[in-house]
Amino acid sequence: MHSMIPKFFGQYLLEKDILDKDQLIEAINYQKSKILKLGEIAIQHAFLTEKQVAKIHNEQKRTDMRFGDLSVSMGFLTEKQLEEIITSQKNNHIYLGEAIVACGHLDKAQLETQLNAFKDEQQSIPPIEVMIKEDIPHKELVEVSVDLTEKLFRRIGDMISKSGQLRSETESVANLGVAAALDFRGDINARYIINVTWDIGQEIAKKTFKKEDLPFDEELIRDTLSEFVNVVCGNIRSKMIEMGKKLDFQPPLTFLDKVDKNIPIARGEQATVVPGYTQIGNYELAIVSKI
């Protein structure tokens, strides 16, 4: 079966029982050991002194900024120098496959066979297809969220969904029936909200439990939506990490229309709301962050 969700090569090898976990851990650690840190590269290029690197590290403990951004904002590196060391870091990393061969767990021919099989499996995963023209906060996160939400509606709920024209809200979002929210923290601080009609909620529950005659049960629908958001956001997190953004999150919160007619937006925050349409009904996806 083809997977719709991206995974990394190591997980594939583990699942296929081609490597055991100790071999995989050894290869990942070997790969990591070959990656020079930005500070080390900047020292090699004579852009920074060891003292400056230490100062940046100290500053990093107080802020949640990344090394590169901080070195520019502290005036130690120019944007151009930062770009140069990032490129150098990218060009000098080794692939997990090379690390596996270096550790002696596969030979080159075996690696090639496995890489081809992995690529075949991953080819069925469509790339991120959503492109937003408007200038909005955390555009990348919104694009990835819309894309993966649509894909998981299809995969889990067997629903074809299409996104409509986005809008901004600053006070609240009207609850369509049942909603679930999850807070991302890290390089981006934002809340993901999925807001669906009870019909869509019931459809996701039916498909999740593989029971077309599933009785309507509000609590079950709420729990299913909550789990749906966990899965969607886990996949968003993985995709954002691939794009260089570190994110973590806590278990989701839920809102039922009987109790919360509106999903509140905190003062000083703004929601980018993307409406979605499916054969079962409408939903809205929102990304809320500080203005």
């Binding site: 997977s3 729990d223 299913t224 909550s226 966990n230 899965v231 886990g234």
Partner: protein, 126 residues
Amino acid sequence: MGDSKKILIADDSRVAAHLLTEIVENIEGCEVIDNAVTGEQAIEYYEKYKPDLVTMDLSMPGIGGMEAVKRIIDGDPSAKIIVVSSLGGAQDKLLEALEAGALSVISKPFDEEKAVNVFKKYLGLK
């Protein structure tokens, strides 16, 4: 069912726990003995039941699944734990879980066939 393999499911989502239970109970010779919903409860139930295998969700209330993996393995290095996570696609979490002592990872949404193969492999079932 005296010889059946005992599986403990640690997952705070009753939806995920239900789906995993269905997968496990479709494997001949396997039964789910209980469902822990926090990291602390997973440790407590591990001690109580000494299951043959634990499925551990990483995002759970309390100390969370990752910490529970570490503490269970500390107490019983032979514990068999499979991490179940929507974070499985990310290398960082996978590595941390494996280094903590988990044997493998199953990604959400579940691919039933792969999940069954993983369970069978670590339970020594054909």
